[in-house]
């Protein structure tokens, strides 16, 4: 247990270190790169005095180290300031967009994992057959097609040509519920969700399927299956027993996948006009709304780091050998 505790502590320190480093890079980026965020806000009609006062307001007259300390404090306490253009607290904007993104990702991940696991256990069981080889290559090839092009094709076919699904957005105009929960529980939302969810799944189903296929092979050789077989259980029941044992490594895979998707879905959010955090980042950059862009970037990075941390921790619990090495 001591080794496990030590391992968790190390991982936690690493998480804090990397978060601080990423924040510092973000700070340096905005300070050093050519192009001045202030110039977006400040009109050429501003007098020297107005510019000075604006700088003071934003703390830009302070020495660099003090700006850095304030910036780190603000970021870590999620005080992102006010949007240049929407004039609302950035925190509120980001939280809302994050929920929207999650509303697309979570169902896609859950479905990918469930269907991927089923497919993978079937593949592992049918190891060496012709179907198995074809499905594996098909999955890998499908994953290598850029998902934003898949999204475009799907939209062209099912939305513009067949008219089965809306051409984007999260709900119809006026379809917004009173609360977030009410919105995502509506049929209208489901109707909008299906296409982007399917496109995400074409990518994300591969890794659980392949993972389960290989773990299944290990489990397949173990003794307890022979005992079940000797008991006379039908093959179908034996596959179920084997699958349950092969599921554990999947847990960490899901955590990594979730984290990655929070940044990877930017393109899909643009194509499906999904009002998520990635689309907000692109919009903020186009509007030069730097406080919003900074916050979007930070929460995306933070989510990836947190999910990776969770994956490491879960892995240590599932396979204690990791913590000891």
């Amino acid at each position: 247990m001591n080794g496990l505790r030590w391992y968790l502590l190390r991982r936690l320190v690493l998480l804090l270190f990397v978060t601080a480093a990423v924040l510092t890079i973000l700070f340096v980026m905005f300070k050093l790169l050519p192009g001045n965020p202030l110039s977006v806000f400040i009109d050429s009609n501003f007098s020297e005095e107005m510019i000075r006062r604006q700088k003071q307001l934003w703390g830009l007259d302070a020495p660099l180290w003090l700006q850095y300390v304030r910036y780190m404090w603000n970021m870590l306490t999620f005080s992102f300031g006010t949007s240049f253009f929407q004039m609302t607290p950035v925190r509120d904007i980001v939280i809302e967009k994050l929920l929207h993104t999650a509303a697309m990702i979570v169902p896609a991940v859950v479905l990918s994992v469930v269907l991927g696991a089923l497919l993978g256990s079937w593949l592992g069981w049918r190891r060496g057959s012709r179907q198995e080889g074809a499905v594996v290559v098909g999955l890998l090839a499908l994953r290598s097609v850029p998902s934003f092009f898949v999204g475009i094709i799907v939209l062209m076919v099912f939305s513009y040509n067949l008219g089965w699904f809306p051409p984007g957005g999260m709900v119809s105009i006026g379809g917004q519920g009173d609360s977030f929960l009410e919105t995502i529980l509506s049929l209208d939302f489901l109707h909008h969700l299906i296409l982007p969810c399917l496109v995400l799944m074409t990518r994300e189903i591969t890794s659980p399927a392949l993972l389960l296929r290989s773990t299944m092979l290990e489990v397949k050789g173990s003794d307890f299956l022979d005992i079940l077989r000797a008991k006379g259980l039908p093959e179908r029941r034996i596959v179920m027993h084997a699958t349950r044992n092969a599921l554990l490594p999947l847990v960490t895979d899901v955590a990594v996948m979730m984290g990655f998707l929070f940044q990877g879905q930017v393109l899909l959010e643009i194509i499906f006009a999904w009002p998520g955090v990635g689309r907000e980042l692109v919009a903020a950059l186009n509007d030069l709304d730097y406080p919003v862009a900074q916050a979007c970037f930070f929460v995306m990075a933070l989510i990836i780091l947190l999910f990776n941390f969770v994956a490491d921790v879960l892995y240590a619990f599932i396979d204690p050998r990791v913590a000891l090495s």
């Binding site: 690493l14 270190f17 990397v18 978060t19 480093a21 990423v22 890079i25 973000l26 980026m29 905005f30 790169l33 050519p34 192009g35 290559v137 890998l140 090839a141 290598s144 097609v145 850029p146 934003f148 092009f149 475009i152 094709i153 939209l155 062209m156 513009y160 929070f262 940044q263 990877g264 930017v266 393109l267 643009i270 194509i271 990635g278 980042l281 692109v282 950059l285 186009n286 030069l288 862009a293 979007c296 970037f297 995306m300 990075a301 990836i304 780091l305």
Partner: protein, 304 residues
């Protein structure tokens, strides 16, 4: 790692053997049907990238005229333009041909750059061990903590879009995986007997690293270079699609961006499908080649 030992035993001749080893790898890849098809497609892409601008009927931004002299806007594929025209009256086929060069340029430069960087970092980190290794690995952890696409979008929006910047950003994204894989490989290699033998014979540390160990990780580096070309092309397309590519060149992603914004999904399929198909076909052909090459490197995959 079938070729590990012969190379190591020949020691300093590793540099000379590179071409024959590449030729050997190509022969093995061609033996797999997928590898042969992939290689054929890739060769086509390379040829188009080289001579595309020569055979393109127009420049990427030229305006095509109808026989009556008007601007040929959104003309479907036919006699005016083989693959139709855009809403600005540009020739889709010409943009596609020019775009191939842009894609390969970004992919190849970024892949080579990132693999050189990643291999060097992985070699030093794995071989040095101790504090150096620890420092480099934490640095890699930080690099892995940065979400690439958002990061690239911010840098480009602040510094201005240009092709060299895109290449630089893609390189900075791709080296991370290479360095981790190479480091892991070096960790196992440095405990092999041929390394002890070299040390016992009085070889210096840098000689052991660059003459004895490095040639043995090169096959892996090549694999990651191929994967890197694929990644580079995809990332450039993604950035351009989001409108953050170099506005002065026309890439596949840039074509998709313009057709997407012009609503061509609704009305002009010939403007949307070609760049998307070219991109997908390129990515899949690299995938087919790397898969065959991986089986060459890892015989266990073959019997699996």
């Amino acid at each position: 790692m079938t070729s590990a030992h012969p190379v190591a035993e020949r020691g300093g001749t590793a540099g000379r053997g590179i071409f024959s080893r590449v030729a050997h790898a190509l022969r093995v890849i061609v033996r797999y049907p997928t590898g042969a098809i992939g290689l054929f497609l890739l060769a086509l892409f390379v040829i188009v990238a080289l001579i595309g601008p020569l055979i393109a009927p127009y420049g990427p931004f030229d305006v095509v005229r109808t026989p009556q002299g008007g601007v040929a806007r959104l003309v479907p594929p036919g006699s005016v333009a083989l693959l139709g025209t855009t809403n600005q009256g540009s020739d889709v086929l010409s943009q596609l041909l020019y775009g191939t060069r842009v894609a390969l340029l970004v992919g190849v430069i970024a892949a080579v750059g990132s693999v050189v960087l990643g291999t060097m970092i992985g070699l030093v980190s794995g071989y040095a061990g101790g504090k150096v290794d620890e420092a480099i690995m934490r640095f890699t952890d930080v690099a892995f903590g940065i979400p690439f696409l958002p990061f690239a979008l911010i840098v480009i929006s602040v510094a201005g879009a240009s092709l060299p910047l895109v290449i630089l950003l893609v390189t900075l994204f791709l080296w991370r995986t290479t360095s981790r894989v190479i480091r892991a490989q070096v960790l196992t290699l440095k405990t092999r007997p041929f390394v002890w033998a070299a040390r016992a014979a009085g070889a210096s540390e840098s000689r052991i690293l660059f003459v004895h160990i490095a040639p043995n990780v090169l096959p892996l580096s090549f694999l990651y270079m191929a994967i890197g070309v694929q990644g580079g092309v995809m990332l450039e397309a993604a950035l351009s699609f989001l409108g953050f590519g170099d506005p002065n060149v026309m890439s596949w992603g840039g074509m998709l961006n313009q057709s997407f914004r012009a609503g061509a999904m609704r009305s002009a399929w010939w403007w949307v499908i070609p760049p998307g198909v070219a991109l997908s076909l390129f990515v899949i052909s690299v995938f087919m080649v790397t898969r065959a090459y991986e089986e060459l490197l890892n015989p266990r995959m073959r019997e699996a």
